[in-house]
């Protein structure tokens, strides 16, 4: 069975709850729909799990992007199995829990969809057998957790918390990506198995410190280790099922999972020890200390989670095999007791309406059953004997005692560990005592609180039962899973150890004893501790973070505003300056131009045309304030250019240039209607000089470039096109064959851009209101005869004639100058003539005036033609052609390129008419306003 399929199941399952939500608002039904796929995945994992317990490692690989060494490679070894069970198992419990947690008003379908997306991403992280794939899933967990934390998007806290979590873990993800890329560079592959086996290569590489730091950045941000711990408490704005799932059992465990996963590849050095264990120790102590002072129930649990993650990190950092076993064990234990605690906190929040421990007191009387469950779970968190937390905490104490890597300062580790234990007992005591005893509840929003629905307690019961079972009978419950997971972490070897409750009277037991007594003492003396806390400077991470974010936003806005200031002239100036700089730097080192190489014959016509071109261009610039004259002289430029194209045997270009010229003139005229006939002098002379300089430099540069290209001795691919146009593309017009066949993908891209531009113009012009001048330049009202009879009468019979020519040009395009682009322009011009002559109303009463579907149809047709070649086993946009004999016409060529060209044709017609017709319609608004 393919592992990839199992990983895909939650992603598939994410579609189900929203679909159910459309049909019915029944939350139970949605919960079942959500649970379907994870349950299937869990069932499918049973038989592979047996193989893993037998000592096998399962792999499955599907190629994805082989050139990047990125494949859909999945593996199932002990570690992956352990995490997969956590993700799916606790996931199922959370789905059940959320069914009762979410109120009927909330969009449960969407919630479940996000949850399943996250589940799939997490499952992907833990089963990836390719480091790049792991990073992909890693980022997916960040994204989906953003959606989950921000699920109550109407609350500012939720939005800010989600953004903060996203930013911090996202940055970490980027660092991780960099680290993974370096690992891939060092090892030569991203295959996890190979990477794990080449630990020595990585550790001896000079880049090792960089790799380690980058990977650890990813780990520490994800697992909320100091100094990146601040996002986790703010992520508590999420609905409690999310906190129970993401912030206790799964997502924050992704970081420590990665420590375990890469343990054989990266661990074992002094640097690893210093960075990982010190970060872990600091986190453990600081978070455990802060947890004691939280008044928010979930805040306490959040800091306690950070502290326990610190404990796990510290264990991995010790570079001792037994410590890694203890770390894996604590991952399991923490997931069970913390998830149940979060769920219990959610129940309390649900039933009392608040999470403030100063108000929730004495709940023992109101919900004794929940109280028992929560008390057992928090006893496990404190490390009370006969519960699972005790076992791993004992191992933790033993390992800190056994580490001598700090030399004479080695005593710091066990002392720190005991201190952490003290705080952990203290905040557990506070959780139990403040919430369930300590007098009467104060001013609860919901009074009196009562037990939650029966099935809301089931997930908590299951998890608490697991805590007890593991705590009492470790050897028959968890030992097997722990053994395979730990041996996978350590790369196959497993140290000698025994899971039992009683190890004899030894130092770790003494430390446990001290921690318990100390914790209880600390709790009884909490008034003094609170006084100390009150005198500490308070720093709200959210405020600091938001401040920074807004500051960066302001900087970015200021920087953008400098360049993107709304002045089109300045954009062009920037662009042209850049071009000028590039050309100056690139052209300057070249040797002088050899004018004698210019080999085209010069004749009178060409010289005359060129001279007129130059004169007209100059005139356009000089007269630019007299818009009409300037446009006229611009059209002379266009005409001369197309004549020169004809002169230098580029009939295709000439045809296109000519039709583009007509459309451009029409467009300019339409736009001019809204502009004053003359413009004032607005630019200073410095600016004029600057613009002249820029223009001269760029013009000279382009001329030089063109000259160099034309006289250069470089070999070009033109000959290939010439040779293959007929046999390969079936057309003798090389230009057209290049457009629709050789470089068809380019053309496809271009018409897409054209389509997008047309849509943009459509969006800009939609609902735009422009006031046009009522009078012409002489102060006269516009002529009343808007549609002169002669023009109307003549233009109508012209339409079929022009369309005939368009068809002709289109059909011959493959072999003679023409093609879809020119034909499209001719059609557009013919139709625009009808608009001009007979008016928008007349045209739109005879044909639909919506052109955006035409554009879309064109792009779609061209795309489908390209896709069509897949059906015959050829690459995208392979063209085929054949010859058929028609009775009258004779031999006639049919090419798939023609279909593609039809797409081009439609896009051009649609885009051109969309622009012109919509711009033209603007001038009608005034008339409408007057009519109204």
């Amino acid at each position: 069975m393919n592992l990839a399929f199992v990983v895909m199941l939650p992603f598939l399952g994410a579609c189900l709850p929203p679909l159910v939500e459309r049909v019915s608002a029944n939350r139970t039904l949605m919960a079942f729909a959500a649970a379907l796929m994870p349950a299937t995945a869990l069932a499918l994992l049973v038989s592979p799990a047996m193989q893993v317990f037998a000592g096998e490692t399962l792999h499955s690989t599907l190629p994805w992007i082989p050139s990047l060494d990125l494949s859909l490679a999945f593996r199932l070894d002990g570690l992956a199995l352990l995490f997969a069970l956590l993700v799916l198992g606790i996931g199922l419990l959370v789905i059940l829990y959320a069914r009762y947690y979410l109120s009927a008003k909330e969009k449960a379908g969407r919630f479940y969809a996000y949850l399943l997306l996250f589940m799939g991403a997490m499952l992907g992280v833990v089963t990836s057998d390719n480091l790049l794939l792991l990073v992909v899933f890693w980022e997916l967990t960040s994204l989906s957790s953003f959606l989950l934390i921000g699920f109550w998007g109407h609350q500012t806290g939720a939005r800010k918390g989600a953004r903060m979590a996203m930013t911090v873990t996202g940055m970490g993800g980027l660092a991780l990506l960099a680290g993974v890329l370096l690992i891939g560079d060092v090892v030569g592959t991203f295959n996890l198995q190979t990477v794990l086996e080449s630990g020595d290569v990585i550790r001896s590489n000079p880049w090792y410190p960089v790799i380690l730091c980058l990977v650890l950045l990813g780990v520490f941000t994800k697992s909320a280790q100091f100094p990146f711990h601040f996002w986790l408490p703010h992520a508590m704005a999420a609905p409690t099922p999310v906190s129970a799932y993401l912030h206790s059992a799964t997502m924050v465990k992704a970081g420590v999972f990665l420590l375990a996963r890469l343990y054989p590849a990266l661990a074992g050095t002094d640097l690893w020890f210093m960075l990982v264990s010190m970060a872990g120790m600091l986190t453990l102590l600081w978070a455990a200390f802060v947890a004691l002072f939280q008044h928010d129930l979930k805040g306490l649990l959040a800091y306690s989670t950070i502290s326990h993650l610190g404990l796990i990190t510290l264990l991995f950092g010790l570079n001792r095999e037994m410590a890694a076993v203890a770390a894996v064990f604590h991952i399991i234990n923490h997931a069970t007791f913390k998830a149940s605690l979060f769920m219990a906190a959610g129940i309390i929040d649900h039933e009392t309406g608040t999470r403030d421990m100063r108000r929730i007191n004495g709940l023992w009387k109101y919900m004794p059953y929940t109280a028992v469950l929560a008390m057992v779970a928090s006893a496990a968190m404190a490390g009370v004997p006969l519960l699972n937390g005790f076992l791993s905490k004992e191992m933790f104490f033993a390992e800190t005692l056994g580490s001598h890597q700090l030399g004479a300062l080695s005593w710091i580790l066990p002392v720190g560990a005991t201190l952490g234990g003290v705080f952990s007992v203290a905040y557990s005591a506070r959780f139990i005592h403040d919430v369930f005893f300590n007098g009467e509840p104060v001013n609860l929003p919901k009074y009196p609180p009562h037990e939650p629905p029966r099935y809301m307690k089931v997930p908590v019961e299951i998890l608490v039962a697991l805590c007890v079972a593991v705590g009492v009978f470790p050897a028959i419950t968890v030992a097997g899973l722990l053994a395979v997971a730990a041996s996978a972490t350590l790369g196959g070897t497993l140290p000698e150890y025994h899971l039992s409750i009683w190890h004899g009277f030894n130092l770790p037991l003494v430390m446990s004893f001290v921690a318990t007594i100390g914790g209880v003492l600390a709790y009884t003396q909490r008034r003094r501790l609170f006084d100390v806390w009150a005198r500490l400077p308070q720093l709200d991470a959210k405020l600091v973070f938001e401040g920074r974010v807004q500051q960066i936003g302001r900087w970015a806005a200021a920087l953008t505003g400098r360049f993107q200031n709304g002045s089109l002239q300045s954009y062009v100036a920037w662009l042209v300056t850049l071009v000028a700089v590039i050309m100056l730097t690139q052209l300057a080192p070249l040797s002088g131009l050899d004018l004698s190489q210019y080999s085209l014959p010069m004749d009178g016509v060409a010289i005359l045309c060129t001279a007129m071109l130059v004169a007209a261009a100059l005139l356009t610039t000089v007269l630019h304030r007299h818009r009409m004259t300037s446009i006229m002289s611009l059209s002379v430029v266009g005409l001369m250019v197309s004549l020169l194209f004809v002169r230098f045997s580029a009939p295709d270009l000439a045809l296109t240039q000519l039709s583009v010229e007509v459309v451009t003139m029409l467009l300019l005229m339409l736009a001019m209607y809204f502009l004053p006939v003359r413009t004032k002098v607005e630019s200073s002379s410095i600016r004029v000089i600057r613009d002249i300089l820029l223009a001269v430099i760029c013009g000279a540069g382009v001329a030089t470039l063109a000259f160099l290209v034309m006289t250069g001795e470089t070999s070009t691919i033109s000959q290939f096109f010439m040779d293959n146009s007929k046999p390969g593309g079936g057309g003798t017009n090389v230009v057209n064959v290049i457009l629709v066949d050789f470089r068809g993908f380019d053309t496809f891209g271009e018409i897409t851009v054209l389509g997008v531009a047309a849509m943009g113009i459509y969006a800009l012009l939609k609902d735009l209101e422009l006031r046009s001048a009522k009078y012409d330049s002489l102060g006269r009202p516009w002529a009343r005869d808007a549609h002169p009879l002669i023009l109307v009468t003549i233009s109508r019979p012209l339409l079929p004639l022009a369309l005939l020519i368009a068809v002709y040009i289109f059909l011959r395009g493959h072999n003679l100058p023409g093609g879809g682009f020119v034909a499209g322009l001719i059609t557009s011009v013919a139709l625009v003539l009808q608009y001009v002559a007979s008016g928008v109303g007349w045209v739109h009463s005879r044909m639909p005036g919506d052109y955006h579907p035409v554009v879309a149809l064109g792009v779609l047709l061209a795309g489908l033609t390209g896709v069509g070649s897949w059906a015959f086993g050829y690459p995208f946009l392979t063209s085929d052609f054949t010859y058929i004999y028609w009775p009258v016409v004779g031999k006639f060529e049919l090419a798939t390129a023609m279909l593609f060209d039809t797409g081009v044709f439609l896009t051009v017609v649609g885009a051109t008419l969309l622009m012109l017709a919509n711009l033209g319609k603007l001038s009608l608004l005034d008339d409408k306003r007057e009519d109204a």
């Binding site: 002489l778 006269r780 002529a783 005869d785 002669i790 003549i794 233009s795 012209l798």
Partner: protein, 110 residues
Amino acid sequence: MDSLIEWAVSIFVIIGGVFALVGSIGLTRLPDFYTRLHGPTKATTLGVGGAIMGSLIYFSWQEHALQLHEVLITLFLFITAPVSAHMLAKAAMHRDLKRMRETRGEPWKQ
């Protein structure tokens, strides 16, 4: 080339050229807008028409088949030139341009 054909082509091209030249001179020399309007219309119809006839004969003889593309061009010109002249005249009247005393007719409100 057959000399008859050569003669025919030459005559048409020359006719076309003369009309184009006369039209262009008229465009610059005639005194007011309405009279100047006559120049380019002559050039586009008769001038281009002559050149097109020459081209038609030449290519039909060259290709040994009747070439009708040119006829189409003539057709389009014959249709469009009067319309553009008409529109120009209307615009001129609307803008109440100066007239020579000899220019007959009165502009009316457009």
